[in-house]
Symmetry: C2
Subunit: 446 residues, 2 copies
Amino acid sequence: MNTERFHINVPKIDKPRVVVIGGGFAGINFIKELKDGPFQVVLLDRHNYHTFQPMLYQVATSGLEADSISEPFRRIFNSYEDFHFRMLKVISIDAKNNEVKTLIGNLKYDYLVIACGTKPNFFGNENIAKHAIPLKSVSNALDLRSKFWQCLEKANMTKSDIHKRATLTFTIVGGGPTGVEVAGALAEMRDHILTKDFPDLDMELIRICIVDSNPKVLKAMSQKSSEDTKRYLEKLNVELLLNNRVEDYDGRTVALESGGTITSETLIWAAGVTANTINGLGENAIEKGRYLVNDQLRLENQINIFAVGDVAFLKTKDYEKGHPCVAQVAIQQGKHLGKNLMAIHHGKVSRPFSYTDKGTMATIGRNKAVVDFPNRLHLKGFFAWIIWGLVHIYYLIGFRNKAIAFYNWAESYMTYDRGTRLIIKPYVPMGEKDAAKFIKQNEIGI
Amino acid sequence: MNTERFHINVPKIDKPRVVVIGGGFAGINFIKELKDGPFQVVLLDRHNYHTFQPMLYQVATSGLEADSISEPFRRIFNSYEDFHFRMLKVISIDAKNNEVKTLIGNLKYDYLVIACGTKPNFFGNENIAKHAIPLKSVSNALDLRSKFWQCLEKANMTKSDIHKRATLTFTIVGGGPTGVEVAGALAEMRDHILTKDFPDLDMELIRICIVDSNPKVLKAMSQKSSEDTKRYLEKLNVELLLNNRVEDYDGRTVALESGGTITSETLIWAAGVTANTINGLGENAIEKGRYLVNDQLRLENQINIFAVGDVAFLKTKDYEKGHPCVAQVAIQQGKHLGKNLMAIHHGKVSRPFSYTDKGTMATIGRNKAVVDFPNRLHLKGFFAWIIWGLVHIYYLIGFRNKAIAFYNWAESYMTYDRGTRLIIKPYVPMGEKDAAKFIKQNEIGI
């Protein structure tokens, strides 16, 4: 329909074309390996920027500006030869004709790299989808930031304690790193900022809950880390509802599997995700919702289609259930595939991928963090927190963002303050119409 | 309707209550004078933050983060005694009963300070209101930022040069400081960033126009400054359509008074503003759309109601048409009224306001600025630009924002780069329904 006015407009040149769908950790690290190489690279993404996802919770909790964790693709790659970015959503893949389909036309590829990550999985519950706030995009994070401060302003003008409590209850679904980090940051804000900002409000009315179906938080980490984290959370007055599940949510009442309920006007979805698979490759290509790849990160039965990062399902002896959906895997797979593609092109041998676990970490709050090193060494407290900060700053794209993030943290640490307490675009729950508009908007991405 | 669940909830204490409507330059500078004084101060605003309006154009043109020019009221005032902020819109003023009316109830005052500034004035043209982007709020600035980068991405995928040109034409209505500053910043981005970011796009297709009904730009400044600015703009390839007016706009075609048209998918409204007057004080209280005040900044025929800043109309020998709507007047009036109120309370004499013109300035781009000092000294070029930067950083609220703004500028200056080129919330033209929802949203502000 838009093909009369628009076209994808990538020049045909005498180099094989690599189309990359998605500019997350996997996508951008893959492209970096191909810099000024023998390929034409086309990156397709619905956003014009890369998001440093592990730090989204910082934006949501007023710790960092949205701009500090986002880096425009064109800025990252504007010195690359034969690189093209198009802000487009891919509708389907046509492997027979070697092309991807978008609303404004088709694009031929010689190699296709699927790196479009995951989206929140509400397990088919439309009520939850409508009322919960996920934490997968910068826009989500800003919504949560607005919602949080709106709740505080609202509660401050609410008559009854019952209503106040409902407005001031923040329920987080999922006790993984994101859930734990959001809960910790909210609790620290309560203790250090809200007491000053809302002196008339009874801080006892603020309730922060984590609901998780597992018997422990941070189940992917060591027993020690999990236990330390539990202690940290309890110290911060975060309620843990473990061995439990959220079954429904109408915007006010959280229905739990156990039969209980939580009256909570905010539900933060830090639980399941599902891979962003694309139409066209058939059901056989998919295992456990992700693209099944071999140790070359190539799709089964395909010659020139690869998948990397969260969207890829790679089963090895050490990872029988596939690799974890974390930044490190995505980064390593992206880099590995980039090196392999260069090798293939130069007639060299392509090597199997093997994941090097560099350790896992999570931060719960000021001086409260846990680190599991691959050698089973476990660290907690102040030193773990410093390591967490350094590693995250190191991986942030671009000197500018690093400098601003460092400045923000140094300032927060010294002053116990958080700067970006703004309701710039008020959070409005997404009605069905808005949702439809939003989706349409994102189809062609322009 | 909301009064069952909500109340304004300001404690009654043994101090006279001062209600301040609006936390712009006038409002916050007024409140600062009353710090820990003999009054209870209640600030009402629809936003939870103060906006440094002179820098909005920097946010719109990817130079500064939104968060750097916004400061939460509760952060500014959280060390003040007997200060209360409520995120509420005032619906009307009832001078007889000394109270202001909001959707969640009424609030009594002993003194009322109206400081709610201005809003864009589209002179009753609904088409323009629907399609133009004003530059009065942080949200506007982010909309313009998104729109600008959306246009670039879109043009890059557009087939015909005619459509490309329409998408890449940015028409600015108003040749005052905001219009000139936006035009200059867009032109600099074209020359230093877009050439690198969009190498396939013909930069000749980008058109930046300023339409103004006056025969010159910056009409409030000296003849010299106006001429220098004109030269700077022409050097930057900004088209000036002076002695002309925008009569209509349908989202694509700008109809000019002269009979000509500009095909332009973006219309930036940096022209007229109108004061945010509130129902209830009668037509006699208003002159030229603003509240008529005497030299004590008190409304005619009122004992305890004052107006300061853009919303006030103060006629003096030097300012027969009222004082200009600029930050300096608002700051000085706010401070002056604060001091007067303290004097009145202590039985001292309240003094008449007199404006000290500290000079005017505008920046067109890198090393391109003009400054008029009150002694008729005129400065331009690099030194004017440095002065502009220092003055604006000096007035930015809070050390944190100053540091980040300084960092951004220093970096931009050295690298010719601008960091925040993000389309976080895509710009969607506001339909009537959305507009209604937006207004409703802002009524109670929560």
